[in-house]
């Protein structure tokens, strides 16, 4: 409230004409001063030019661009994520070190002068444009849940993190149970089976050395941590992760870590594992005893309890056993478009330079639409089908994002297949969706328009 208004409210009519004009002059003077200060402030703000990392088709290396944004945050800088502007571009203060790093990592960039930057901000924030600015302020601390015998090429997320040069820490059951999760902003679940059925590889790999060793390793770990069964340990881990999300954590999962996670939560009080997995048969009424109120994303699913089938439930679509015969050239999924100003989170998660993305298989390829909870936001879908590829939801104070399929650039990744060389897929739209998730926790919370 300015002084003039206050003065009127105080009944200034008793003052003489001279003092009234004095007050008026003072107010004018103050307005002028304020204008100058604002002008100087605005000029200062934009006096330095900006560095724009475009994320449209002109970008030479989309994946490493995320690494650059992370690198800027790590070095104390700030990055503005321009949602829906040229594929979700990044804007930061121009600095020769950043420019140099971009060049060395092969990330293309443009430099903007103060006026251009001002215009750009104005354009992005215009009400009639479906764009917005999200400020990224702090490099999130990333944890990847992986077993000790993990190889980076087993998992698309770690491949993406390694390629984009984004640092992460590996954690496993003990760290989760001892509460270490709280130290991290973002948790990624590896291609893990939280049901304790060892990925349901029993039928094809029960005699393979890696399978036997994995089973023994997991059992030893379960015993060491005080659990009779691996399935019990995994269920407890799943619950700890749910608590972490509820407390404000960000969880990202791919492939079988998604449905197996929810199955483990639903089966909290029931044995769904057959004798070859935990030494005793499952509860014959397991299906009836599932508690869907405990899950994050799915409900009313039906378990596939045949131990010889490479499938957990009917969540996965198309089913993995038998593997679907599809033409990779015609398998695509579509990203949904959200309002950048009203739904910034789903918008962030779907930033891409294309709207239609090449499909890819996994043990869990996509999620059956009819089994999704109503609170879950669908981010991508295979058009005209029940197949939901990419979902997001809130739980407590945190969020979860799940992405079906194993490797966005290896259509049908099988056990023992060589790792994907991301140097050959620098502009992979499928991998971009993973990396959107990595930066998402760095975003400064902004008051929403609604």
């Amino acid at each position: 409230m300015n002084r003039l208004a206050r003065h009127r409210m105080n009944g200034g009519s008793e003052q003489g004409a001279a003092s009234r004009s004095q007050v008026f002059l003072n107010v004018i003077r103050q307005w002028v001063m304020l204008g100058i200060v604002l002008h100087v402030f605005v000029l200062n703000s934009f006096s330095q030019s900006k560095l724009l990392i475009p994320m449209d088709l002109t970008q030479t290396n989309h994946l490493k661009s995320y690494g650059i944004a992370f690198w800027v945050l790590e070095h104390g800088g700030e990055v503005d994520w321009l949602l829906n502007y040229r594929g979700g571009s990044f804007l930061t203060d121009f600095n020769e070190r950043v420019a140099r790093e971009c060049r060395i990592r092969g990330v293309s960039f443009e430099t903007l002068g103060a006026v251009e930057a001002t215009n750009l901000y104005a354009e992005v924030q215009r009400d009639d444009n479906n764009m917005d600015v999200v400020r990224l302020e702090k490099a999130p601390k990333i944890a990847v849940y992986v077993p000790p015998n993990f190889k980076p090429w087993d998992d698309a997320v770690t491949l993406a993190l390694e390629y984009a040069e984004i640092p992460y820490t590996k954690i496993w059951d003990e760290e989760v149970l001892s509460g270490k999760l709280a130290e991290y902003d973002w948790l990624h679940l590896h291609h893990e089976d939280f049901t304790g059925q060892y990925g349901k590889f029993y039928s094809n790999y029960r005699h393979a050395q890696w399978y036997i060793e994995q089973q023994i390793l997991y059992e030893k770990e379960a015993t060491r941590l005080g659990f009779k069964k691996v399935s019990e340990l995994k269920k407890t881990v799943a619950r700890s992760i749910r608590e972490y999300i509820g407390g404000g954590g960000f969880m990202f999962a791919m492939c079988s870590a998604t449905d197996s996670y929810d199955i483990a939560l639903a089966a909290e009080n029931v044995d769904i594992c057959d004798v070859m997995f935990d030494g005793d048969p499952p509860d014959p009424d397991a299906q009836k005893k599932l508690d869907f109120s405990k899950t994050l994303a799915f409900e009313n699913f039906t378990l596939d309890m045949n131990p010889l089938r490479y499938e957990y439930s009917d969540i996965d679509i198309p089913t993995s056993d038998p593997p679907p015969q599809r033409d990779p050239n015609t398998d695509y999924f579509t990203l949904f478009e959200f309002s950048a100003k009203y739904d910034p989170v789903p918008t962030m998660l779907t930033q891409n330079h294309v709207a239609i993305v090449k499909g890819f298989m996994g043990q869990t390829t996509a999620f059956r639409k009819s089994l999704l909870k109503r609170t879950v936001v669908i981010l991508a879908q295979r058009e005209g089908t029940e197949e939901i590829k990419y979902i997001h939801g809130n739980f407590g104070r945190g969020t979860f994002t799940w992405y079906g399929g194993h490797d966005p650039e290896d259509y049908q990744h099988a056990v023992g297949d060589p790792p994907t060389d991301l140097n050959l897929h620098k502009n992979s739209p499928g991998y971009r969706l993973i990396l959107n998730n990595v930066l998402f926790p760095a975003a400064k919370k902004k008051q929403q328009k609604t």
């Binding site: 060049r103 060395i104 050395q209 060793e213 023994i216 059992e219 030494g279 048969p281 014959p284």
Partner: protein, 631 residues
Amino acid sequence: MHSPVFTNRFLFVLLSWTALALVAFGQDQEATLKLRLAQSFEQSGEWERAVGLYEQLLESDPLNYLYFDGLRRGYIQLKKYDKAIDLVQQRLIVQRDDPNLLAMLGGLYYQSGKASTADSLWQLVIAVDPKNTVRYRIVANQLIEHRQYEKAMRIYQAARTATQNDEYFMDEIATLSAALQQYEGATREYVRMIRLRPQQLSYAQARMSSFTGREEGRKAALRVLQEEVRQSPESVPLRSLLAWICMEGKDFESALNEYRFIDRLSGAEGMELYHFAQRAAQERSYLVAAKAFREVIEQQRQQRILPLAKLGYARAIEELSVHSDTLTFFQSSSESAPAPHDRQASPVSESRPSFQGALQLYESLAEEYPSSDVAMQAQYRIGFIRFHRFFDLDGAAAAFDRVRRTSQNPDLALDATLSLAEVYVAQNQLSGARSEYVPLLNSPQTHRRDLVLFRLAELDYFEGHPDSAQVRLKSITANTSTDLANDALQLLYFIQANAVGAPAALREFAKADLLVRQRKHAEALLRFQHILKTFPHALLIDDGMLRIAELHLLLGQTDQALQVLRALVEKNPPSTLRDRAQMKIGEVFEFVLRDVPNAIAAYEQILTQHPTSLYVEEARKRIRLLRGDAL
């Protein structure tokens, strides 16, 4: 004739038998149907219904094992352990002390949470006949089924103690140990196996390879085998296994040591060492290969393999010389060409490898085994070293010519002819080279034919016939899958770009290029400099500058080279070779001057000034390596 009474009685008996048979058949058919139905319920997971049917079936035929086992499975699936236990106990009344049933009963108690009762029962199975290994196996199988691997291993070990025979269950214990990541234990079992049956060495290696691929597994196996070999130094199979482990870890030196013993102990008289040397050479462990080959030669026992060992030794020395030559390249200590048959006084040794030494070895071989295939191969190598290492053209030509004329190996003869033609080019005998190449155009092998075509196109270019060169080059570039296609395209475009606009400059340029091929570097330098002065507006000026810089480098004139490269980068904006020149500047700083900051700066220029260049990726990689990034 039978009486009617007799006939009636006979008919009565017959009918009665038929009726009884029909009833029995009907009952059998019903049971079979029920069994099938129960099995289909089982398969579809409808255990309650399956159990109901199995109960009926077992009631009608209590001794039938199929019904018993089906019902047992059903009870287990429904977690009705008490019923399953009762069922097995009932069966035990009929089949008293049956070890399989007793072990099964133990398993049921274990599943129902009564681990101590289970253990007692399993102990009982064994206690009935503690010398019977079958009983141990039955119990161990039950334990493995219930994921009690360590206990199963203890049962196998108990069987050994009871029978006082360590030969039992070696494979089983080894497999369990490996799965439990007890690699030392697993190795000990395989050692035991080999001690007992040496012919199982390959089997043991195959099994052990499941863990020797990992460092911790390999180290554990190594510890055990070293210890075992210390105890049994005369055991060839154990030393073979130890050598194999060493080779798995790429420790060829230690493997060689083992093979020395193996060779001596098995009386192989060098044969074992020879095979090892071949393997080491294949794995590019040339120093060890050379040592092994030398020892075979020094033994002088196996006359059959002696020439091959000598050839292997010479080849290893040659490869080692490539390495030492690379190391000393920048210290300018290249060797001088020896005269043919000029034997050096200093003995050849793998500790001081040199091309001269290799040459000496090849020449001895050629002399010692004249006309043999080994001699021909040695001659070819002589030609190769004399040509490529010493640029001794006469010596090389003589060696290649000898191989071409006398070798019985057609491939070797063809290679020698190609090499001879190259020597002729270097000797400026271009027509001689052409006459060598032309007959090879009929070669049935496409890659060789293309190579010959390319060489002929080069000859056309050197001799000032750009049109015919283009025709030949176009026929090579039609097949872009070949390695030569790139070289052919490069030369083709160069000729196309200059043949019309500056034919005289192109002719001069080709002559200068020929001088480079003939390693007349100073002369070539002068000619390129002359071209730059004479044809200052020709398109090939920048190519000429690049050649000049390269020649300066070959002549050790680094500053001049940098000066020319900088001029090319800075003063020739339209040139398409600026990025290449800039890259070269970086390489000079990195590899010749060892100036890391300037090398990085030069590579960064590629990124800033030539962002679309083909060299961008390589420049990035070099920068990151130089600044110590983990790639």
